[in-house]
Point group: C2
Chain length 243, copies 2
DNA sequence: CTAATAGTGTCTATTAGACAGTATGTT
DNA sequence: AACATACTGTCTAATAGACACTATTAG
């Protein structure tokens, strides 16, 4: 995705121009990066026979400074002059949430004029997906999507979450992004529930099995002590995660 | 897509903070918007019996200033402090190409550090689609995709075009965006050729007719003087263009 | 045995792909 | 008549949806 703008026939005229160029007239606009971090978490149930319900979570941080002091916001930060957007994303994720090396993709760049009361700030939003079980977070809290959508978040972050959900919904059926949120090993029922949460509708188990099984690999293991018939445990085929 | 950041419970503390806030420490980064404008054009053939071949075109402007003086580039410009990204896009399109009110969607934001030799500039790229026959351009030239990809363009604009093509390819089969590039009325063969150009492969006429006809509406008109069997002329169903 | 989930088989409707064959204007 | 394109019909294979049915554990 990087392309250096200097590996071209740059004549003496251009070099001369650049020697005297001074970035005097750029508009006083800042750029930030915000991360919408999704993960799936199991909420324990009381009934020993029932499966733990899972829910889709999002990572928010409490703002300690104005503006929107004490409101929750997406983790984000200003883009440094010598940082790519991805560099900023990684730095912000580590410093505000403790997460390193997680799957991320650019979502959308939000540029409305009044989105930040301090000054003009354009924000490039990224979606990040994590396996909550494999990572530790620090300084940020997981909220269910429903709660996060009901809360008033800082800036236009409610809007960002809406768009991120739409993107997830749109991509879940023709990509393998869900697996970035799944543990290394899981049952088909667990996977189906994640699909159902993201798509917001129930799926037929028989049809789901058939379509998804091409992407899965049997680990040979089974669940146990579940109070009902054990389930095969699968992993994502062609997975690149560490064992 | 707009959300005003001020319709919230902003206490006296925040107001006080904002009164004294001075945007002193923003990074000296500028933001630009670049437009990848696609259209389809007919190239006349010599053989009276053959149909005119169509080709996918892209709109480029010749740079008159350093850097990349005399190179071709995508139409683009700096985002003004009181402009949204879409505002900038519209202004740039009108001033550099003469195009107004054309379909556009955000593509991707390019943020590598060295993409502009003058200073740090992050660029938000948009895809625009036009019916070339209905619009006049001024100050810009149409190039075939093949030519544009072979040329060395300013900045990372070759990369932007690559990404734009991928996006078009990805969306053509599950959206109706092609119709923004089509004239109001067209034959199925013409439409199929556009699909073939964008997808880079031949399609079977029978299958194409069947799948596409649900989106089309018969105008009742027919082509004539084509040197072969006339063709029905269709338009896009639920079209919003002006008659 | 029962509750709860796991998993299979089958039927149907729809769709994509392939391809043969027919239709119709202009020169 | 010949050319070039327009259009239709049919077969097949693959797929999605619906639903009934069987299987297996802990308690």
């Amino acid at each position: 995705m990087d392309m250096i703008g200097t590996d071209r026939p740059a004549g003496e005229g251009e070099k001369e121009f650049l020697r005297h160029y001074h970035p005097k007239e750029y508009a006083p606009i800042s750029i930030t990066v915000d991360a919408i971090v999704f993960g799936v978490m199991k909420d324990a149930t009381d009934n020993y026979r029932k499966l733990d319900k899972q829910s889709l979570k999002i990572l928010l941080v409490k703002r300690e400074q104005y503006p929107y002091k004490d409101y929750y916001s997406l983790p984000g930060g200003f883009v440094g002059e010598q940082e790519t957007l991805e560099d900023t994303l990684q730095r912000v994720l580590i410093s505000k949430t403790g997460l390193a090396d997680i799957y991320s993709e650019q979502l959308y760049t939000f540029g409305s004029v009044e989105r930040d009361p301090r000054m003009r700030i354009v924000s490039c939003a990224y979606i990040s997906l994590v396996d909550i079980g494999k990572t530790k977070t620090a300084g940020a809290e997981w909220f269910s999507i429903e709660d996060a959508c009901r809360m008033t978040l800082a800036f236009d972050h409610n809007l960002m979450i809406d768009e991120a959900l739409k993107r997830l919904q749109g991509k879940i059926n023709y990509t393998d992004i869900v697996f970035h949120m799944m543990p290394l090993e899981f049952t088909i029922s667990e996977l189906q529930e994640v699909y159902e949460i993201i798509l917001g509708k129930k799926l037929l188990p028989a049809a789901f099995r058939k379509t998804i099984s091409g992407k899965l690999e049997d680990t040979g293991k089974m669940t146990s002590n579940a109070g009902h018939r054990p389930s095969r445990i699968f992993r994502h085929r062609s997975f690149l995660k560490m064992e």
